[in-house]
Symmetry: C2
């Protein structure tokens, strides 16, 4: 197909007439499709339903170390739950504290604790004139919301296929003592599905922060969320806790994970992993915050998956379901946009999202146009701090929830809108 | 029995010799009894086991309003869970937000949120030179720990059988803008089992605080925890939210409750109730903190108890189990201490504790002496802020966990130690 960038005004006008007609047809269909949120489809959750049977009124609800899981206690999590969660992110069980159902909640609390108490003895952030977080962009909107909620200044760090721009990260972290954190989704990053290269992870571990309380937030949300069964198409990243230890900075990172997209988002298990020092700091206030998280649900997960192999087997089935949706999107995008030079998109091997970059200044208009035709996308800008995409070009696809057919239909509308908005944009310059 | 206070030095010496012999005999038995923590006994939890069967892999896990409880969403709780929790504390469902498994966690977060964000628009506490909480004493150690954790100054308010000394409460709240909260366990108070009188509740509702962000923390932990089935022996308190509204102060109170001592402490459901304004303030940050609490566990509770009547029926059975333990303690105390004038104790109609006041200066020594003979009690002082009982006289009994026989044995040791320490104390003055 001929690149839109090479077209004359007349060619673009002709294109536009065709596209407008197609758009009116599409709008007339009264579609109602939603690819805005990264939530598992009901079919995936159906697969997990046997977890509801592993515990019943005849079950022994005693943990391996003899705790009655029904009663108070065990604020750090059951030993067997630590083992399962540790295996999921390839760390040691003693590096893990298992909590409630939400890793976002753990992250929020970890930030909140730093604001009120400081980190491992450092000044509480509420006593500082300014606190800054580095935010690789595009990134996860809820990380940014947590940060904004505490009035912390966010600094955009451009993402590359190998991870955040590390020159910039080093410049900020190693020189500015107000920079306290960076949000990382190192594996199958939200939204591009990129993976941090070994060099990137090692450069993270080698940081020499200006702030004594600088920490890396390593959100390993998609640790076992491969789309392909072929090992060649399964991505792996270095273990950040190991690398930090090797680099002589054992306290540099907090890692977060959950079974939200493994078992049930509404009733999973979440965990945080870090060094002994950092865990001690977390536990100090966590033991005041609660007498214990839901231990029966932890036990339910352990009895159901048995071990990491059981969990990975189920994730293969999830991957199979997800793959068909991702491929439906990718196929449509390729067929319709290849060669037009009006957008690029990622083809991840895992995770929950595809990231699309339109021509600068087009993202908001495309999302609005899709909405007109009955297709809901994540708001343009949501993948950036404060909801502001400086180039207004990034759009996030969340293919997980609809069916493959719906995804295909939605993408058909999307490409139509992308073309239409791009043509308009290009005509502006003619 | 002759009062120890009336005894001569010689009589006391004689007493002491007998008591010391009895104590040595008791110590020789090598007992190991624990009446330190207010946790349900395994027998109580066994009663609740059918809750493990109400949901299984064939269950419809859809809430009344059509939400798939397995998936993300519903951060305020399921409508039917709101209804059940509301009925437990006799408020309206729309006054309730249902959360995770721990009301302590909700309380901690409510304090933390005030520190970082202020309350409904007021100055965040971290920006204030000093924040003070009123603490009716003796009270619940974990309330005090949460407060201390945030560096908030605690002020003791003496408890009476009708509730806290309201003259003092009014003096502080209505005059000192640094006083931001009071911790109340209004029903079957921890540890005395006292209930706030109607007058007390109304005086609370009528407070005219110097601080615009003053709130009452109303921990209704024992809302349905009666020991007796006879309605005459079931205590009731006025609804604080209603009274605040009637008094024209709808935003004055936060109420907390949970099923920790109804279903399972390790896997229950907790909730907070308040005015629309206050809930709005909570939800504003809670919706950033989590995408939703465990909705399947909320659904499990609703399907199991069906309604408040089902829940109350089960609580009667719990009450039967608890009553025999409370009565075992009370009988032993009466038999051994009646008339001696060395201690007074409460005879609650509900809750989880009995409060014992020894002669001033004796509590620590009695608890230590009990420990020597193999009986663990809650640390003396634990019922006071900073662990400091100014008169060193209060001791908390937690009869729930051991068997009635164990409670009886433990109390036998206790009275022996109480006598011995009291005799020593009285001899000091001779």
């Amino acid at each position: 197909m001929k690149s839109y960038l090479q077209m004359s005004k007349e060619e673009l006008m002709e294109c536009k007439a065709d596209l407008e007609k197609a758009f009116e047809d599409a709008r007339g269909k009264g579609l109602k499709l939603d690819m805005s949120r990264g939530k598992p489809a009901a079919m995936q959750l159906d697969l997990v339903m046997p977890i509801m049977d592993v515990l019943n009124s005849k079950s022994d609800l005693t943990s391996r170390d003899g705790m009655d899981c029904r009663n108070y206690g065990g604020p750090d999590g059951l030993p067997e739950a630590k083992e399962l969660m540790a295996a999921m992110i390839d760390v040691k069980p003693e590096q893990v504290v298992v909590c409630g159902n939400s890793s976002l909640n753990i992250m929020y609390d970890t930030v909140s604790r730093s604001v009120t108490h400081g980190v491992c003895g450092s000044t509480p952030w509420c006593k500082l004139p300014e606190v800054k977080f580095l935010c690789p962009v595009p990134g996860y909107d809820r990380h940014f919301k947590v940060t904004e909620n505490f009035g912390i200044k966010m600094i955009n760090i451009p993402m590359t296929p190998q991870g955040p721009d590390m020159d910039l990260v080093e410049k900020y972290v190693n020189n500015d003592p107000a920079v306290k954190r960076i949000w990382c989704v190192a594996k199958y990053a939200n939204p591009q599905g990129y993976n941090y290269s070994d060099e990137t992870v090692r450069r993270f571990a080698a940081l020499t922060p200006a702030a004594e309380d600088f920490r890396i937030y390593w959100d390993n949300a998609y640790c076992v969320h491969h789309l392909y069964t072929d090992p060649e198409r399964q991505d792996h990243i270095l273990n950040i806790l190991d690398e930090c230890e090797k680099a002589g900075h054992p306290d540099l990172a907090f890692e977060f994970c959950s079974t939200s997209k493994v078992s049930f988002p509404g009733a999973g298990v979440a965990a945080v992993a870090s060094s002994a020092n950092n865990l001690e700091w977390i536990k100090k206030s966590m033991h005041i915050q609660t007498i214990g998280h839901d231990k029966i649900n932890q036990l339910r997960h352990v009895r159901y998956y048995k071990d990491i192999d059981g969990l990975l087997q189920q994730m293969q089935l999830h991957g199979d379901m997800m793959r068909s949706k991702f491929e439906a999107v990718e196929k449509r995008l390729e067929e319709a946009l290849e060669g037009l030079e009006i957008g690029t998109w990622t083809k991840p091997n895992g995770g929950y999202f595809i990231s699309f970059d339109a021509l600068p200044g087009c993202a908001k208009a495309i999302v609005a146009k899709c909405k007109e035709a009955g297709v809901t996308l994540t708001s343009a800008g949501a993948t950036y701090p404060y909801g502001i995409d400086p180039e207004d070009k990034n759009i996030r696809f969340a293919p997980s929830y609809p069916t493959p057919r719906e995804m295909s239909d939605a993408t058909e509308i999307f490409v139509l809108c992308a073309k239409l908005v791009s043509v308009d944009k290009l005509l502006e310059g003619k």
